[in-house]
């Protein structure tokens, strides 16, 4: 291999290596097809799954399994008006027309349960609701019981006519003057009917028999129609829509924080997101590849020696360390003293003592003595050996 042999040609042709649009399309079309399929499948699932949005339980407009649109339709078919009311005020306004049943399926969002309890007329309370004692005075829930098909076993016409129904949830104790139906396993009832100021209050353990899922089973539909269809209209109390959060965060003037913002802020946030995206694309595009390189190992040759020193230190190997230091010193002393490499102990000690003028016993103890008892002894030994070597070297 010579200097001239390896010199490359003066210029070489370059070749573009970045992919063309066509090769990009070829390489990615399968992946894109797969992605499209997944998106299409997801869209189809959502579209066919019906429920646009979360299901609202026992809502007369909800078509999901937990909703009650079927019951509302049945009621309307029998000439009963079904009105949704999402506030106590609205329910009270409706109640003025008279001959109405108020259906209460949830009170957790009602700010004023006492006000609700003062609405006159027939009332159906579904489930062991918050402040059920106000809505149906004297009725107390006694236990949680399983939901299953139960027999009415009571003289209440609505229940007798309907027969067995899927009911349960909570069992109630019936106060004096009230009629209990669909007995639970304990002494309570899962349906309690009692007269109130201007009509009848009926408390049922759960509303499961009114849902789209269960309405067709047993006498569920009959029971629901008997309870609700007795009047000309039903006021169906439902949860107010969530986006009308003004009820809770409204200030004294009835304006929320969002009302006070300029209308452009929301759009500006969207534009800021676009700006962040563009900035990310700007900063994220690398100019050329990351170049890797196989580097040689970096290891200091002295590492093994240092490791051995640390082992000596960790084990406090004074004997070994002293032996090595002595052997090294003797090894260097021998040629300076003019002794043969295999000189005996006495010979060496005598020669060193003669050369340095120090006590032979002391020199002997240093060169061939016992293991030092502590680290200080080892340091002293090392320094004494050094001084012997220096003295021998000087003379």
């Amino acid at each position: 291999m010579s200097l001239t042999g390896m010199g490359p040609a003066e210029t070489r042709q370059s070749a573009p290596t970045s992919p063309t649009a066509r090769s990009l399309w070829r390489a990615s079309r399968m992946a894109m097809l797969l992605g499209l399929l997944i998106v299409a499948a997801a869209v189809a699932t959502v579209a066919l799954g019906g429920g646009g949005g979360p299901s609202r339980r026992l809502d007369p407009d909800d078509t999901s399994l937990a909703g009650s649109k079927a019951l509302a339709q049945l009621l309307r078919a029998r000439g009963v008006t079904v009105d949704r009311a999402d506030s106590v005020t609205r329910a009270r306004e409706l109640a003025r027309s008279g001959d109405r049943v108020l259906l209460i399926t949830d009170t957790s969002y009602v700010l004023d349960p006492a006000g609700l309890a003062t609405i006159p007329g027939d009332r159906v309370v579904v489930g062991d609701l918050y402040r059920v004692d106000l809505l149906a005075p004297g009725v107390r829930s006694s236990a949680q019981v399983g939901e299953r098909s139960r027999e009415p076993e009571c003289p209440l016409p609505a229940a007798r006519a309907a027969g067995s129904a899927f009911i349960g949830g909570a069992s109630f104790t019936a106060p004096r003057g009230a009629t209990g139906c669909y007995p639970a396993d304990d002494d309570g009832w899962t349906l309690v009917s009692m007269p109130n100021a201007g009509g009848t209050t009926t408390v049922v353990g759960s509303g499961e028999f009114m849902t789209n899922r269960r309405l067709a089973e047993d006498g569920n539909a009959a029971l629901a129609l008997n309870l609700l269809g007795s009047a000309k209209a039903v006021t169906w109390l439902v949860e107010p829509p969530e986006d009308g959060a003004g009820d809770t965060v409204a200030g004294p003037d009835g304006q929320s924080v969002y009302d006070l913002m300029p209308p452009g802020v929301g759009w500006a946030v969207a534009m800021a997101a676009v700006a962040v995206l563009v900035t990310g694309l700007w900063r994220g595009r690398r100019l050329g590849p990351v170049v890797t390189e196989r580097l040689p190992v970096v290891v200091r040759a002295a590492e093994t020696v240092e490791g051995r020193g640390r082992l000596y230190r960790a084990r406090r190997a004074r004997g070994r360390a002293a032996d090595v230091l002595r052997a090294g010193a003797i090894d260097r002393l021998l040629p300076r003293l003019g002794l043969a490499p295999d000189a005996g102990r006495n010979e060496v000690v005598a020669a060193v003592a003669a050369r340095t003028g120090q006590d032979a016993v002391q020199v002997g103890a240093a060169l061939y003595g016992h293991e030092p008892t502590d680290d200080a002894g080892l340091v002293a030994l090392a320094q004494y050996l050094d001084s012997i070597e220096r003295t021998v070297g000087e003379h």
Partner: protein, 461 residues
Amino acid sequence: MALTGRAALVAALGVVVVLVAPRPGAALAGVCLVLAAAILVDLALAGSVRPLRLHRSGETLVRLGQQAAVELVVENPGSRRVRGVLRDAWPPSAGASPRVMRLDVPPGERRRLTVTLTPTRRGDRESVAVTVRSVGPLGLAARQGRHRSPWAVRVLPPFLSRKHLPARLARLRELEGRHPALVRGQGTEFDSLREYVVGDDVRSIDWRATARRHDVVVRTWRPERDRRVLIVLDTGRTSAGRVGEAPVPLAGAPSEGGGPVGGHGAAAAARPVPGWPRLDWSMDAALLLSALAARAGDRVDFLAHDRAVRAWVSGASRTELLSSLVNAMAPIEAELVEADSRGMVSAILARAKRRCLVVLLTDLNAAALDEGLMPVLPQLSSRHLVLVAAVSDPRVADMAARKGTAEEVYDAAAAERTRLDRRRITARLRRHGVEVVDAPPEDIAPALADAYLALKAAGRL
């Protein structure tokens, strides 16, 4: 494609526009559409990167520690101006700078860019890719493309010990001048005839020539030329250990700027900087020896071996020897395997038919030599003169000299142990008739050259 900071700025200004516009929704859509349209127009009008043609020229050889300039000519055969940036990507240890260069090539013209390489280690460095980003006239978006424009630069060992060469050459001349000796000995050859002067050894009188010339003529001798020197470099695991202080900054060594091992932070800073591998010091010594031997008229061969032959240089002429050697040495790296001494000896015996000086550059590691070289050494030393040269570690000497505290004494004992082992293995090698040179990194090259000169003077080659 790539977006620019200007596009991001426009999008950020769009936020303000949307905020103050009377119809923010329409403003958002408008800003986004205008930005997208401008980016598309910019992309369409940007100079195309794909048809660019790149040509390279420049240096292909550089000594470690020096700089090499590589030129890149960008030719634009397209119909639109290519304006933007260009990055010539080299491996990190090639030390290419600048990293990114401005580029502005009008259609049909060409521009020359220069990349300066400051390599930090030996070996072949190849350009990986050239990336061009061509920005459109609006400066909002750019086309980006990559080209392969191959170029390799071979980084040669620095041969720092050449500063010792003049002194050694002077001694060599002195040797040769002194030696037109009248004493015939081993390792000398017939030089010339000259007239007898009083004081010459009468045994060196050439009677046949005297008879022809009617004058007393003596034969003179000179150190034998055309001896053979085989330099064997052990590239096994012991050659990877770093000793001394690196004379040129090395890749992989923690530098002030935080090198590849800078992640250790304070721990790396507290520890001494790892120096140069034994291999590089050995190469330096080998180069000085071969320069000297070539001047002395000897033939130099070179073998690098660990478990297999890594490099073999033979029969190079005297003028070409050094360049062949540095070329052969450049790509050699220490292999992290135990060297196969048996294989090395058989490789030497197969290549060196005639008696020669075998200079074995390795480490005097007692354990490694006991297992490897010692059993097969007699085969080698019976046919050749063997010289073992090893780089000792100044850190070990430093540790052995420090005896202030108990910790230092334990370290000193460990260092002493290493030195004892080294002295013992040296003594054993000498008993086998092997010459041993054991010197710290800065001194190994002159020490090896001196040992060679001593052998030459003694006529032992």
